[in-house]
Symmetry: C2
Subunit: 441 residues, 2 copies
Amino acid sequence: MNIQAIIANRRDGRPHSFQELEFLSRGAAKGEIADYQLAAWLMAAYLNPLSPQETAWLTLAMAGSGERLDLSELPKPWVDKHSTGGVGDKTTIALLPILAACGLTVVKMSGRGLGITGGTIDKLSSVPGFRLDLTPQEMKDQAGRIGLALTGQTPNLAPADKALYALRDATGTVSSVPLIVSSILSKKIAGGADTLVLDVKCGSGAFMPDLQAATRLARSLAETAALAGLNTHLAITDMDQPLGRTVGNALEVREAIDTLNGRSRGRFAELCVQLAGLTLFAAGLESSLEAGVSRADAALRNGGAGSKAELWFEAQGGDPKLISDPAALPEAPVRFEVRSDQEGFVRRVDARIVGEVVVELGGGRRRKEDQIDPAVGLECLKEVGDEARSGEALFVVHARSHSDAEQAAARLQEAVTFDPAPAARSPLILEHIAPSSQQPI
Amino acid sequence: MNIQAIIANRRDGRPHSFQELEFLSRGAAKGEIADYQLAAWLMAAYLNPLSPQETAWLTLAMAGSGERLDLSELPKPWVDKHSTGGVGDKTTIALLPILAACGLTVVKMSGRGLGITGGTIDKLSSVPGFRLDLTPQEMKDQAGRIGLALTGQTPNLAPADKALYALRDATGTVSSVPLIVSSILSKKIAGGADTLVLDVKCGSGAFMPDLQAATRLARSLAETAALAGLNTHLAITDMDQPLGRTVGNALEVREAIDTLNGRSRGRFAELCVQLAGLTLFAAGLESSLEAGVSRADAALRNGGAGSKAELWFEAQGGDPKLISDPAALPEAPVRFEVRSDQEGFVRRVDARIVGEVVVELGGGRRRKEDQIDPAVGLECLKEVGDEARSGEALFVVHARSHSDAEQAAARLQEAVTFDPAPAARSPLILEHIAPSSQQPI
């Protein structure tokens, strides 16, 4: 077997065998295949997309290209959750304690953010002392003790995906559904989970801008997960407006904490409860989605989720007192209100513009090597359907300087559009995708 | 301008601007664009082929990516000749002295061979003392003095092509007509010629196996050359059987010499005369192909070409006496006759098998870094249409060892097939492609 023949097969649209994809994955993981050959294969795979079977094979081959987390000491089911990323998406931080409070064991690896979609690791890095470099053994010990553990990605899990992923941005091969699917699922499989809930974001602030594209991705994820033997439920959720009331790292942690301690309810809390309910149903702890949602909602209301969050923060080096009083989180020196110059009912809050403004403020990365300012960001005071009077505040900008804040404010005026009549509130969950009936390969 | 956007344009089939192709070429030449990005672009260009205009732009951009040979001190026209490569193709070695004897100025850069198609530089390397590292100034001085000069490729001409070419074999992007065309023509333009004769080989021993593929390549070469302002005539010539009576480096030099000194006539001499005639017509020294052919034939018969060859060998450090007596060329220790086990009329001598046997004997390269044995090779005693009796010799193998020779002999039996009735002699020139009427861009 040689890489030239594998590239030629993809180029000419001939099917790959599992052995070919395993050869490719191992060679990529070990650095034995040149980057330029991987890049040629990626472009050929972009233009001649992998079949569902090939996608599942690539997923399994990449999952097997390095170490795999062995969760067998922990009680089943082992659940994991993944979001395709969006503006203001701090869901993981609130969801994990809810799930643990409901009796699940959650072991999760998260990534850093790039561009307008932030990363959970960056958000939690704004918590003083919070450790995000747990070893596999520490992960397992902690999850066994308190039911949840979260860490940054370890280099030895799915190294083939790491190698291919690093090339995709530079080679124009990011937006290929089979490549996205195998990248997401290979890491999840290597991470040891057997049950997975996937939140596919859809809208201007997400990778998939419309429901058609999001559905295509979601169906491919469902099919590939089933072929790979992973119990996976999916929800397509709205990302046309920012999720919740904050965008920016420390601000989002604060919002997640306020959700956990019961001080904040709204679209963000609702999404957490819905996804937690779906997870409880997916994992078999509840016999219906509705029952799952009730149990998750109860965990938020009765303080169970907040108590788990305190244990979690303490276990990973953060101050558990933050859960009742998040005032010790970093704060930006400048706060600046952006007031409406129109009045009416909010028709749109463009999540893309909001995300770009936060990156401009220093709260996100344009390039992988950029540093992030944890304190900057936005409070989004209005959501679609809300009424606003002229002169009423739409956003609060948290900035490093006045000039940064003024630049952000100018840009943010474009983000909001108004209607004279009340717009329909957009649904939070656009679609549920049930597990595929495909048999594992 | 950035390379990611250029890759995305090619990937999505959007047209490139000249500026984009110049950016790509300069970046490739200077090593400022990563190999993996060039590879992704190459695969995208393979699957979404460049238009004729884009091909011409890439040609000009690559030609301009390094130095260009300035031939303005030499009398016009400045002619160059190129073959797409075949088994036993030693044409350049005989053609250049014929052209110089007819009054043309020929300045030529040649390459090394890879696989079954040998390279002129490798063949001439078998001549003791022959220099193939002339500087641009030495090339021009020599061509001004005796009308011809030949050297190996200098690294500073069309370095963008060098960078892309080096990636194409490893990335499965060799057999793209626009990429082949721009690679060939960019080097020719950088080499300073204004008139070009291209020999597009067609058949089992060539890169283009059938007339349809060869015609497609030839038409694209003609069109791109015209768009790039190069006066170019093309012939598609037969490469289904080996060209001439020898394959292997020193053996081919000997055959070329025997053609120049008048001792050998046959298909190979005929091709030289035809291509020389075409060149004289293309360069405007004769008003018809026929007149050009007559003049070239006369130069072979009246000793003019042989005298030029002596001057040439002397000028580049070889022994001019070789032209009258090539006995001092390297010879292999073992000669082994391959006798026919059938009888009848030769229907086919498979050039591909013959070429592969010579590579096996050590006369060609499988990989770029392989060393070549100048002395080994084959004499091909029969051509299509010849009669052979059972037991009559078909080939003489020139080998390093008896075991090498025996292995070659076994393989060569497959190369020849017979008919009971005489097969038609295959034509030497399959098609002439006149210059395209496209105006230069």
